[in-house]
């Protein structure tokens, strides 16, 4: 049973160590990646924004069409 506990302690030490080392490395890697990206694409506009714009226009279009139909209806009354 002594053996079981010592196996557990070993597992805990290595495990927690790996988790910390990994996430520390990930911090470095992430900062490095972000620095690279910001260096080479400083003012890149995200496609999400572009899409949002399109959608807004579609909604506007819809509103215009609705308005037209409403007007048409009112004229026919």
């Amino acid at each position: 049973m002594e053996n079981l506990l010592s196996q557990g302690i070993e597992l805990a030490v290595f495990g927690m160590g790996t988790v910390f080392v990994f996430l520390a490395l990930l911090i470095l890697a992430t900062k490095f990646m972000s620095a690279l990206v910001l260096k080479y694409q400083p003012d890149q506009q995200s496609p999400k924004t572009a899409r949002a714009v399109t959608q807004t226009s579609n909604n506007t279009l819809l509103a215009i069409i609705s308005a037209a139909i409403i007007q048409h209806r009112q004229q026919n009354k």
């Binding site: 597992l11 805990a12 790996t18 996430l23 990646m33 972000s34 910001l38």
Partner: protein
């Protein structure tokens, strides 16, 4: 007449055991918690219902050719269900707050202390003869502290399928209990001034960074902890589908139809492990207690790590967001926000807490990789 006796003997009233009756009550309790109390209903409704189905006497549902056993063999024995869920979760995760403040990754590391101390606790309880957990079982119990459902189910399915039911129930119940478990610990370990600390606003993160991050993460996993690659690989794949912007129809399906289908089947499969003779054992009680301990320690070490970081860094972080490092996305981040608002009504921590929150997912997946590597 003899036929009437035979007919009577096919009824459940005749065949039901006390254990099965108790398990049906437990399944009903899970449904009550899920439906009435809002405890992680997406999982606990299928798990609870599956648990009831599994304990119906005189019919094979959770064993043999029974449908729930078939789902279990198809998706849990193979690991397919938790990995597909993880892919869907990846497709729903926004790494923006983490990328804006990468050092919060350390909080996601610190909160995994709960996993390993609980592992040791389980082995200690075995050492003193209260329980009889193997190293594999202890590891699977510890992972409850990761506060991440699919990770816990994936690890338990590999290391200790015989206690999968108890582990899944504990993991999802405690994730739902985060708003009750965490605040007292958070308040005990922080001063009002610390809780009132307002953090500087996060910078905008570009699309390119969001696309590269899952790839950077994957490569690092491949180089350092390959045993975590199935879990984090599927997670990063889901996230890349979301962020790359060219496969939106796949990303949508991963976030909706696919993850919903798998959630139903996974929940029922987990429910099949609530059969009386597997669940109603002494070790279940130990698992439930140890799981709670794991959550609490993870919360505490997350908060303490945040305070430690403030000692060394000029850019202060509110220690409350350390508690979000256990994962339990997005519940833990909301709790950090709520406790922060109590001390300072202008202190909006939600986005700041999302960083350690998703870091906790990565942290516990790494821990899972180590446990699978060395304990299996």
């Amino acid at each position: 007449m003899s036929q009437l006796v035979e007919l009577w003997q096919t009824t459940g009233i005749y065949q039901i055991t006390l254990q099965q009756f108790l398990m049906i009550l437990i399944g009903s309790l899970l449904l009550y918690l899920a439906i009435k109390k809002g405890f992680e209903p997406l999982l606990l409704v299928p798990i609870g219902f599956g648990g009831i189905l599994s304990n119906i006497p005189g019919v094979d549902i959770a064993v043999g050719q029974g449908i729930l056993h078939q789902f279990y063999v198809m998706g849990l024995e193979t690991g397919v269900f938790p990995l597909l869920i993880f892919m869907g979760v990846g497709a729903m995760t926004d790494f923006g707050p983490l990328l804006a403040n990468p050092k919060t990754l350390l909080l996601g590391a610190a909160a995994q202390f709960g996993i390993f101390t609980t592992l040791l606790g389980a082995l200690f309880l075995t050492d003193i003869g209260w329980f009889d957990f193997s190293v594999q079982q202890a590891a699977a119990i510890g992972i409850i502290g990761g506060a991440d459902g699919p990770t816990a189910i994936y690890v338990a399915g590999i290391l200790a399928p015989e206690i999968l039911g108890a582990i899944a129930v504990a993991a999802y119940s405690y994730m739902a209990l985060v708003p009750l478990i965490q605040p007292p610990i958070m308040r005990a370990l922080t001063t009002p001034a610390e809780r009132a600390l307002v953090m500087t606003q996060l910078r905008e993160v570009s699309q390119a960074e969001k696309i590269f991050f899952p790839l950077v993460l994957l490569i690092l996993v491949a180089l350092v902890v390959p045993s975590a690659a199935p879990l984090l690989g599927m997670f990063c794949f889901g996230n890349l589908m979301k962020e790359c912007g060219v496969v939106d129809r796949l990303s949508d399906t991963a976030q909706h139809a696919l993850i919903n289908i798998v959630t139903i089947l996974l929940g029922l499969s987990v429910g099949s492990k609530l059969v009386a003779d597997q669940f109603l054992v002494a070790s279940t009680l130990g698992i439930l207690v140890l799981g709670m301990v794991a959550f609490s320690i993870g919360t505490a070490t997350g908060v303490l790590m945040a305070k430690l970081m403030n000692v060394f860094s000029s850019q202060k972080i509110n220690p409350l967001i350390g508690a979000a490092g256990v994962s339990a996305v997005p519940m833990a981040a909301r709790v950090a926000n709520k406790v922060g608002l109590e001390s300072n009504p202008n202190n909006f921590l939600l986005m700041h807490a999302m960083g350690p929150n998703v870091a906790g997912v990565i942290g516990s997946a790494i821990a899972a990789g180590v446990l699978i590597q060395f304990a299996s």
